[in-house]
Subunit: 199 residues, 2 copies
């Protein structure tokens, strides 16, 4: 069963409220500039090589961010589920061709804004600049930890820590995409799983 229920923008505002406080006017100002958009399973939100025009907040559904290498292999960079932000940030802020594809693994509902809207929001609502500073800061710390863990841990331990950290995602997406995210082949992940299940 696909989730096709109507989500609403409140999810975003309760999320923002965890970090900063917006006045009623500020909330309204922001709400008017958000575009809500639905995508079907399989649809692309962004294609590698295009300019990434939107920063998206996931209201419902699940997406993968990945790139295709020269021989056609796909490599998953990250997943995004409810309450995650997704974009190719390099492309979004610098207006350069995107390194990544973003594709829906389920039917999705996203809240989006453009780069010029975000710039407007930053100048009109300083609390939002703080909000995104904190969000990006957390993303950077997580990215740096991931770089270190990719050195330090074996594929087995990376898999175990992935299941531990994102049990929901581990059940929602197929194994071969998890293998790709972990930087190993699906065959090797299969071997690891067999090994774990036997003890």
């Amino acid at each position: 069963m696909e989730n096709t229920s109507t989500s609403d923008k409140r999810l975003l505002f309760t999320y923002i409220d965890r970090y900063v406080t917006l006045t009623t006017e500020e909330e309204l100002f922001l709400k008017e500039r958000l575009r809500s958009r639905r995508y079907l399973k399989g649809q692309y939100v962004l294609q590698q090589g295009d300019i990434c025009h939107y920063e998206s907040f996931v209201l419902s559904g699940c997406l993968k961010v990945f790139y295709s290498d020269s021989s056609g292999g796909e490599h998953v960079v990250m997943f995004a589920v409810e309450e995650w932000w997704v974009s190719d940030m390099g492309s979004f802020v610098n207006h350069t061709p995107a390194d990544y594809n973003i594709q829906c693994l389920e039917n999705c509902e996203l809240l989006q804004f453009t780069h010029s809207t975000l710039e407007e929001l930053y100048t009109k609502i300083p609390a939002l600049e703080r909000f995104f500073r904190i969000i990006i800061q957390n993303a950077f710390v997580a990215a740096q930890k991931r770089i270190v863990n990719n050195h330090r841990l074996t594929a087995r331990d990376r898999y175990i820590s992935f299941i531990d950290q994102y049990p929901d995602i581990a059940q929602r997406v197929p194994q071969y995409l998890i293998a790709s995210y972990l930087g190993i082949t699906k065959e090797f992940l299969s071997k690891i799983r067999a090994q774990i299940n036997q003890g």
Copy 2:
């Protein structure tokens, strides 16, 4: 010959000026809250397990950020040279024990501020919140690219792209630290270099 010449704070202000404009009063306010500190080659700016109290801007010198694993091996996370920022950001913002050590590879002069100073700066000078939002954003984009390159490229290509991207650092720091940064052993880097030099 070590570089022991006196640098000054102007390097930081010309750097900030590339991203945002500060008024004279704002510059003064910031300048008064910066502490300038010299470290000798080999000295630790931060030890793994301690709380990271300072965000540091490098006026002169070169540092390594690394962690020690359970069997005593050292793994380099990043280098920092003139005009780079260095800290354990996770520890700095959350007041948690640092994952990393920061040690000087040369005599260094750093400009530092504490977390409470930074919070004060953010509220008093919105332009600085914007400045750091942009800096952190760039750091995040770079970190994500590094995650991908560690998947996509062989050790050989990672080495070539490192020399290409940071020729200055490649000449300033010993090979075995570069190997560690690239996530390979010094022996394997040596093999790669031999292979490159022969054609």
